[in-house]
């Protein structure tokens, strides 16, 4: 079977500065890392792989994104594809999902497409379901665990508001997110980092993936940020350090005065 894992490179910290001339954050010089939800799904894909299965990591980005894909290769992906073209720049989720779907069509043959449940920077969690729609594939989101996989079908436990559901689906399908409760991203050991250098790494541009270029990048973006700003600051709170009984009395007084309760 072939598993494809879509990964995104995100700023290492969300403490970013705004470009005052445009409604976006300044990304130049900001250090980036693999979106950890994406690394998590890659590690989950590695767990269910059997002998003969293949994992391809794919990401849209610039030359810096290569480091994220190299990390994926060191973590168990067999091949990496970087989607890099000026025409891809400034894509919103509509553009991104069109580009990824076009690349997936070029790959052609796959059983499961994995996406992280959202990204740590903009975090809309939309790209996975959008890819599924464009490729006319079934999807699951909020995956708890993959119960069973065999040729052509899969059994998945998904989170619901009441608990869980077991969903059976045909393959191929898109797993758009496995939210981890606890997760310490693993750091690949040196021999695997070295071995990753020898694994296949391809770079595809807009010509390679074909598709409708008017739907890529800033030209194809449908949403527009008209204002990007700091949220109103919370007022400095009152922290009480008195003995327990006195502290509770003080708190109750404050809650009464401020009509919280």
């Amino acid at each position: 079977m072939r598993f494809i894992v879509c990964v995104k490179q995100v700023p290492e910290s969300n403490d970013l500065k705004i470009d005052p001339n445009a409604n976006r954050v300044l990304k130049k010089g900001v250090s980036t890392i693999i979106n950890f939800f994406d690394q998590f799904v890659l590690e989950e894909a590695s767990k269910i792989r059997k002998e003969g299965d293949e994992i391809i990591a794919i990401s849209m980005g610039d030359s810096e994104t290569k480091s994220t894909l190299m990390r994926c290769l060191a973590l168990g992906a067999d091949k990496a594809i970087l989607l890099n073209d000026e025409k891809f720049l400034e894509s919103d989720t509509f553009g991104t999902s069109n580009i990824l779907a076009a690349a997936l069509k070029k790959i052609g043959d796959y059983d499961i497409i994995f996406c992280g449940n959202s990204s740590l920077d903009t975090g809309s969690g939309q790209v996975g379901p959008e890819i599924a729609e464009r490729l006319d594939l079934p999807q699951v989101t909020y995956t708890e665990s993959i119960e069973n996989v065999e040729i052509g079908k899969i059994k998945i436990k998904v989170q619901t508001d009441e608990g869980y559901s077991i969903i059976e689906s045909e393959l191929p399908l898109v797993i758009a997110g496995i939210p981890p409760s606890y997760y310490q991203p693993s750091i690949p050991p040196l021999p695997k980092i070295i071995a990753a250098q020898k694994k296949p790494f391809e770079v595809w541009n807009a010509e390679d993936i074909k598709g409708d270029k008017s739907k890529f990048g800033s030209a194809g973006s449908l949403i527009k940020i008209i204002k990007l700003y700091k949220p109103p600051k919370r007022e400095q709170g009152i922290v009480i350090t008195d003995e327990p009984k006195a502290a509770i009395e003080k708190l109750m007084e404050l809650l009464n005065k401020d009509k919280v309760i």
Binding site: T160, I166, E170, I223, Y229
Partner: protein, 333 residues
């Protein structure tokens, strides 16, 4: 684009009731409709949902799109999306709003992709300016807010975070027009099916993203048994119980209670954090709560930087005292 009109609200059901967030979105939709001089319509999909039409006749709704069939008893992305896509193509709304719940976040992007239109996730505010829906959401871990529009395409789509908008107030009864939506789905053609449901939460309890008050416990709680102290305070306030990732990982409480980046983002009126230090991943999930009360024995815990009221002390002593004080206060009211 000129033909698109009306504001639609997708209604989500929970068991045998309407999810509260639906009325919050209706409240906002009515405000927007007044500005843009449009109608507010609701879309009901489910197996036994026509009985709810009555509930919507007290909210100034102009039209109900009703699609009822036993096949819709279980939510499946493929059934719900195919019905909605056809319906939207036929009646072409100008704005389409979904709750930012597990279901809404699964369904809305699929529809946006099919209709080739923009979608903004997890909106905390909506407004109309120059004929566009201005959609506000948090980005970059809550460090920034973005106002977003979808200028060229229609419908304009958004998912709306529960608990941030004012609920629609009941009005005098009206008679919304009901449009029965035909269903054309061959069950044998479906690619997915739900084969089992496992309920882990008590049905009567609101999901944490809809609770007005949440009492949360973290690593500092120390054991599953100690969560009783949290439960007791929650009981007095009729609150939901939440938890940090550390408490969930330790197996003290179910994952559906987890507040934070990898759990649920919540925005209650009151959030009480007990024995929670306040990791970034937890703060992202709760810092837009209207009032935050923190109890922690470490005076340097980051939770005190975002709280409105904090008490430095052992939660085992403080929380029972608070429970008593609140019980007394609420019995007087």
């Amino acid at each position: 684009m000129a033909d698109n009109k009306d504001i639609w609200v997708f209604i989500e059901f929970k068991k045998n009731s309407i999810r509260g967030v639906s009325f919050e979105i209706i409240g906002k939709a009515k405000e927007l409709a007044k500005k843009s001089n449009e109608k507010v319509c609701v879309v009901l999909l489910g197996s036994n949902v026509s009985k709810f039409c009555e509930d919507f006749s007290y909210h100034g709704i102009d039209r109900i799109y009703l699609c009822e069939d036993s096949i819709l008893g279980e939510y499946l992305t493929e059934t719900f999306s195919s019905i909605l896509i056809n319906l939207i193509k036929e009646y072409i709304p100008s704005i389409l709003l979904f709750p930012a719940t597990k279901l809404g976040r699964d369904l809305a992007p699929r529809i946006a992709a099919a209709l080739e239109t923009g979608l903004t996730a997890d909106c905390i505010e909506l407004d109309i300016q120059d004929g566009n829906l201005v959609q506000t959401r948090t980005v970059y871990g809550g460090n920034y807010l973005a106002d977003i529009i979808c200028p060229k395409n229609r419908p304009q789509m958004a998912t709306v975070r529960p608990n941030v908008m004012e609920r629609s107030e009941a009005l005098e009864k009206n008679q919304p027009e009901i449009i029965n939506v035909p269903i054309d789905i061959d069950p044998n053609q479906l690619k997915t099916k739900v084969t089992e449901k496992i309920e882990t939460t008590v049905i009567d309890i609101k999901p944490i993203d809809e609770a007005d008050v949440i009492v949360s416990g973290g690593r500092g709680i120390g054991s599953k048994e100690n969560f009783k102290i949290i439960d007791e305070l929650a009981g007095v306030l009729n609150a939901a119980v939440g938890a940090s990732r550390a408490a969930v990982d330790a197996g003290w409480i179910s994952k559906s209670c987890q507040v934070g980046q990898s759990g649920t983002v919540v925005c209650p009126n009151i959030y009480i954090a007990c024995g929670i230090s306040g990791t970034t991943q937890h703060l992202v999930g709760m810092k837009s709560s209207k009032k935050i009360i923190a109890i922690n024995k470490d005076p340097n815990a980051p939770i005190f930087d975002v709280c409105d009221y904090g008490i430095v002390g052992d939660y085992k002593v403080i929380v029972p005292l608070l429970t008593e004080a609140l019980k007394e206060k609420l019995s007087q009211d």
